[in-house]
Every structure is written in structure tokens, then in C-alpha cells.
């Protein structure tokens, strides 16, 4: 029975999982947060429950398939207010790799309020625990009827949360090395990358909430303009969701011949293509294809 309690003897907050059609990656990691002492959610004052009526925090995984939608919404509705909803993995936020399927009804926030997102595919258990910690703060504010605290300081990524070297975190874009070949966008399963032509140049945008963190873009990027970082701690309040982007503009420079704007060829590509460059090659890179053609016609044949 509920009794009056102070902060030290509060009953644990119930965590309720809803699988909205996931690949089970996120769900298996949720099981790890429940079973493995190192991740233990009990330290946050939480406990998993199988009954929605006992829950305070809802953890939702998967892209919300059309088939599961009604059931998932009903289960979510059965959790009493004030509740806090955490989207685990990129699927509920954007559909992730399953975007644009006839069978996917998401994103989840089209149907119910989402409070916290934990990007990743699947996220590390440590990131899920960080998202739950944030949810606990929000829940307490709601219960007490006070405004939500400014986004909580996420747990340190060092110590026992430390990731091994080489963990696949967010992608980083280096505009200076980009040739605008768009191979990265071509290979990206989650359509996380888009290019926009702008006056100043070619704008690159990558939305981490749609990224599967597969690093295939970096693998196929010949100049190394895309690189994997070890930044995995990306849990955030839902209202911040569109701030989780990586951006850059590849500037257009005037052609040295005719002045038409062109995307310069970065030295990274020249190194891949020619190993060593020469002043002659460098001069050609400052020309647009048309001027280069003229140059070839006029130049001496080898």
C-alpha cells in the first residue's frame, strides 16, 4: 500500500516496456539493464514491472508497426499519469532503417507524447540507463507539479560507463574533405543523410535520430570526410530531437577560368587518386569541368 514517504524510502518507480515492432535489439539490451548488476536500474530507484497499472515510466522500442499500433497505444494508455515516456533506439523517433514502409505507422510521437529519446541502434545499456535517469527527473517534477528541471546532467561517460576504444558513436562530418559525391547518402539505410544545394555551397545534414550508427557511410567515403566518433551518450529530451544533427557546408569557389561556382577538389581526394599531387594537378582542380575540357582540347597531347 502507498504510505506517506520521504525521499529516502520512496517505493521504486515502475518501468514498463512496450515492444512496438522492434528488431529485438533494443529489447535484449533492456533485458540486460534488468539483469546485469553493473547497469542495475534499481540504483535509480526503478524496477521493471509487467503490469502497466504499476508503472510510472514507459520504455517504448520499435518503429510502431501498423499491426501493433492499437495494442501499443492501449498499453500506454493503461499506465497512470503522471507518466514519462522514453523512446529507446532510433526506431520510435524516426522509424530508423524501417522508415517509409507501408507496415510502419510511426513515428510514435504522432500518437502519444514522448519525453526522452535514447538514440542508438541499439543504444548501449549505459545510454538507456541515462535516458531512464532523465525520465526519473521528469517524473518527479510532474508528480510535484513543478516545472521540469533543465535537462539533467547526463551521467559521466567515464568510469564504469567508459566505452572501449572504437565504440560506434555519432558520425562526424568534415566539410573540407567532402567532394560531394553523395555516396554516404546512397548507402545509408535510414535515410539519415541529406544534401541540399544552397547558394553558399552544398549543405550536408545527418540526423542522429535516424542513424543506425552502422558506419557504412564512413566505410564508403573515399576521402574520410565522414568518420565515426566514440560519442555514444546522446540521450536527450524529446523537444531537442531535431538539434541532434551533424551539419556542414561544402563551399563553392569560383572557377579559375570562367568564374562559375564549383565544388573544389579536396587534397584528400587527390591523395586517393594520384598519391602525390603536382602544381599542374592543383591548377586543374580549380577549373570547372568545362574549362578543364577546353584546357584538354587546347593542351598538347601526350
Amino acid at each position: 500500500m502507498e504510505t506517506a514517504h520521504n525521499d529516502t524510502s520512496e517505493p521504486p518507480l515502475g518501468l514498463f516496456r512496450i515492444n512496438a515492432g522492434s528488431c529485438n535489439g533494443c529489447d535484449v539490451e533492456l533485458a540486460a539493464t534488468a539483469a546485469v548488476s553493473r547497469f542495475d536500474v534499481e540504483r535509480l530507484g526503478c524496477r521493471y514491472t509487467e503490469s502497466p497499472g504499476e508503472a510510472a515510466i514507459v520504455l517504448i522500442t520499435g518503429p510502431l508497426t501498423a499491426r501493433v499500433r492499437e495494442k501499443a497505444l492501449r498499453l500506454h494508455g493503461a499506465v497512470p499519469e503522471p507518466k514519462v515516456t522514453v523512446a529507446v533506439g532510433v526506431c520510435p523517433v524516426s522509424g530508423g532503417v524501417f522508415r517509409d514502409s507501408y507496415a510502419v505507422a510511426g513515428p510514435v510521437d504522432a500518437y502519444l507524447p514522448v519525453d526522452v529519446n535514447v538514440p542508438g541502434c541499439p543504444p548501449r545499456p549505459q545510454a538507456i540507463v541515462a535516458g531512464i535517469a532523465e525520465a526519473v527527473l521528469l517524473w518527479k517534477a510532474r508528480r510535484d507539479g513543478v516545472p521540469p528541471p533543465t535537462a539533467g546532467s547526463l551521467p559521466e561517460s567515464g568510469g564504469e560507463n567508459a566505452a572501449p576504444a572504437g565504440v560506434r558513436g555519432r558520425m562526424r562530418f568534415n566539410a573540407a574533405a567532402c567532394v560531394g559525391c553523395r555516396m554516404c547518402a546512397h548507402v545509408c539505410a535510414g535515410s539519415a543523410i541529406r544534401f541540399d544545394e544552397e547558394e553558399a555551397g552544398l549543405r550536408f545534414t545527418l540526423w542522429h535520430n535516424s542513424c543506425a550508427f552502422c558506419a557504412l557511410c564512413a566505410h564508403y567515403c573515399r576521402t574520410g570526410a565522414l568518420a565515426v566518433t566514440e560519442e555514444w551518450q546522446l540521450a536527450h529530451r524529446h523537444e531537442e530531437q531535431y538539434r541532434l544533427v551533424e551539419q556542414g557546408v561544402v563551399p563553392r569557389l569560383p572557377c579559375a577560368g570562367c568564374g562559375e561556382p564549383l565544388l573544389p577538389v579536396p587534397p584528400e581526394l587527390l591523395r586517393v587518386a594520384f598519391r602525390e599531387t603536382s602544381p599542374e594537378i592543383a591548377r586543374l582542380t580549380a577549373l570547372c569541368p568545362e574549362c578543364r575540357q577546353k584546357e584538354s582540347i587546347g593542351g598538347t597531347r601526350r
Binding site: 515492444n19 535489439g25 532503417v97 517509409d100 514502409s101 560506434r168
Partner: protein
């Protein structure tokens, strides 16, 4: 009097949403129908909207427990069409990734079995042992579930000498806990009482249902793609096929534990045999029009990919048959005559993957 009840994911204690319509007389199961589709994401439609590169990442998310088997089998089909021979080193690295995933997958299933029979401490113990594998995967591949190991023409990770030595040490670390788990699951009186003679699939029915993977091998059908039609590096590896005859929940669990131990040995063999050379072709191959079938032994059993290409980098058709699909039907045999309360245990003993069956 017979009646029909519906069982949903909460009652079945699974990580995935799966529903059953069960016919019962009193407390005894007389018939069973699996209600599928909750996790249907339209994968066969999606793979046709994605090019061959995007499909490497998408297919890895067909199911995260067999997540390496899907892209590696898919890439094998692409390579077959393109007439590509991947470097031998890449074949070994694919086998390593597959076997690492097999250990984790099998241990997860054994953990859930312990959870269902109410052995909380054992459940946590198996999950802790599995963490060695999770951390190994994270250190080598950068993620605990989805390894992102494959690309067309090979693999996109390599094991430098230090990483290979690290993997070898981690495998050494797994041996004693795996042997101990086998001993517990094989000899613990209470576990044996709960799992022996439960959910029996006799050999005859196993053959009739054409079950695959550990479910088949626990019913005395020694079918394993790694030895029956070796692919990749497996023709150079010594694979002991685990077998049991009882066909019950206990036998299926023991087969998985033996296979996990065998995977350790396979990884060690790979590390010892792997030649030093690049792990991937350096060029982007042209994929001509053609068709191919590729098979592999995923943790849950035989996985088959069919790919049809038309000369572009969009697949013209891509279809697969997943092991859990073959094992579903056998549930009706296993459950007939069992108590309703045994359903979660028996269902889990086929290690069902809803995610890849519903796709």
C-alpha cells in the same frame, strides 16, 4: 469441456510480442495457433526500396539476435552473382562474427529458460557470463548487438594482432563458465525436473516438420549447414555437430550450451588459421543481372537467401527463409498434452525469433 484462450506477450514472458490461440481441455493443451504479424515491418517491400548497400544495414536489423547471419548471407548471395571470391581472411572473419553471435544468442535463450522456471539467480548468472561476449563484441566491433562486420567483397573490420590476442583471451575466459553452465543445466535436479520430458518433439515429427537448428539437433536430426554444405571458411574448420536424442526442453537447452562451447573452439581455429591479407576487396564491384541462393547456419538454424538482380544496384527480388519459421509448426506437436502453464517454457525452448518471422 474444451475452450480457446488467447495468450499474449505478457503472459508468455518473451522479449517480443507474440500471440497464441490455445485450445485447452481443463488445463491441458489440445491445439495451438500462432497469431503472427505484430512485428511485421514490411521487410520484403523495404528491401526492394533500398539498394544493395543499404540492405546490408537494413538486413542486419531483420533480427538482432542473428544479426550477423543476415548481412553475411546476403553479401554471399551478392558476391555469388558478381562472381567475386572474397579473401580467405574475410571468410574467417565472417565465421568469427557468426560464432560470436551464436554464443550470445544461445546464452540469451538459456538465461530466459532459467527466468521462466523461476531461477532468478541462475538467470542473472547466465546474463553475466553473456556480458563477457557483449563486451568483447563492443570492443572489437563497436556495438554489442549489431556488428556491422560485412560489406560486399568481404568484411569491414580486421583483427590486428593485439585484437586477435584479446579475442583469444576472451575465448579462454568463456571456457570455464560455459562448462559450468552445461554442468548445471545437465545435472541440477530441480532444472531437470522442470525440463526433462517436457515439450517433446520425437525424431519422426522433427523430420515431418522439417525443423532446423538446435531444435532439430535436439531431436536426433544431425542437420547443420556448417557441415552439410560448408560455406565460407567452414570447409577448413572442424565443426563438432552437437546432438541429443530426447527432443525435450532439456535437450534443446543442452544442445545450445554445447554449441556455445563449440563456437569458442571454432573461433580459436579461425584465429589460428587466418592468413594475413586484406580483409576486403579494394574496389566497388559491378553487380550484373543474375540470381543466387546462399545458405548459412544462423544461431536458430538454416537460413536461406534468394537474391535476384537486374544489373542495377536495386534488388529485383530478395527473399529469405528464416529458421524460426520452420520451427513454429513443431510447437503444436510439442505442446499437445502439456499443461497450459508449460507454454512459456516450451515456446522459449524453440528460441523463437518473431522479428525475423514476422519481418
Amino acid at each position: 469441456m474444451s475452450r480457446t484462450i488467447t495468450l499474449g506477450p505478457r503472459e508468455v514472458g518473451l522479449e517480443e510480442p507474440m500471440y497464441f490461440r490455445v485450445e485447452v481441455e481443463g488445463e491441458t493443451v489440445t491445439g495451438l495457433d500462432v497469431v503472427a504479424g505484430q512485428v511485421h515491418r514490411g521487410m520484403e517491400h523495404l528491401v526492394m526500396k533500398r539498394n544493395l548497400y543499404q540492405n546490408i544495414t537494413l538486413l542486419e536489423r531483420l533480427c538482432s539476435l542473428c544479426s550477423n547471419s543476415h548481412p553475411s548471407t546476403f553479401c554471399t548471395a551478392v558476391e555469388e552473382i558478381a562472381g567475386i571470391c572474397i579473401p580467405a581472411r574475410a571468410e574467417y572473419l565472417r565465421a568469427i562474427a557468426d560464432e560470436i553471435k551464436r554464443i550470445s544468442s544461445h546464452l540469451f535463450n538459456c538465461a530466459v529458460i532459467a527466468h521462466i522456471v523461476g531461477r532468478g539467480t541462475l538467470f542473472r548468472g547466465v546474463m553475466e557470463t553473456r556480458e563477457i561476449m557483449q563486451e568483447t563484441k563492443e570492443a572489437i566491433y563497436g556495438n554489442r548487438m549489431d556488428l556491422a562486420a560485412n560489406c560486399i567483397g568481404g568484411v569491414r573490420y580486421d583483427l590486428a594482432p593485439e585484437s586477435a590476442a584479446f579475442l583469444g583471451r576472451e575465448m579462454e575466459r568463456m571456457k570455464a563458465p560455459l562448462d559450468e553452465l552445461y554442468r548445471i543445466y545437465a545435472t541440477d535436479a530441480d532444472l531437470t525436473a522442470r525440463t526433462e520430458g517436457v515439450g517433446v518433439l520425437p525424431r519422426r515429427d522433427a523430420v515431418a516438420c522439417a525443423v532446423v537448428g538446435p531444435v532439430a539437433r535436439a531431436s536426433g536430426v544431425a542437420y547443420d549447414v556448417r557441415t552439410k554444405s560448408p560455406y565460407g571458411a567452414y570447409d577448413r574448420l572442424r565443426v563438432e555437430v552437437a546432438g541429443e536424442g530426447a527432443g525435450d526442453v532439456r535437450a534443446r537447452t543442452l544442445v545450445r550450451l554445447r554449441e556455445a562451447r563449440e563456437s569458442v573452439s571454432l573461433i580459436e581455429q579461425c584465429l589460428a588459421q587466418m592468413p594475413a591479407e586484406p580483409a576486403c576487396l579494394d574496389t566497388l564491384p559491378e553487380i550484373p543481372a543474375g540470381e543466387a541462393i546462399a545458405k548459412s547456419e544462423a544461431p536458430r538454424g538454416e537460413l536461406i537467401y534468394y537474391l535476384n538482380t537486374d544489373g542495377t544496384d536495386m534488388p529485383a527480388r530478395l527473399k529469405w527463409r528464416v529458421p524460426s519459421y520452420m520451427n513454429w509448426d513443431a510447437l503444436a506437436v510439442m505442446l499437445k498434452g502439456e499443461k497450459v502453464s508449460a507454454i512459456p517454457l516450451v515456446v522459449n525452448s524453440i528460441d523463437p525469433c518473431i522479428s525475423c518471422t514476422d519481418r
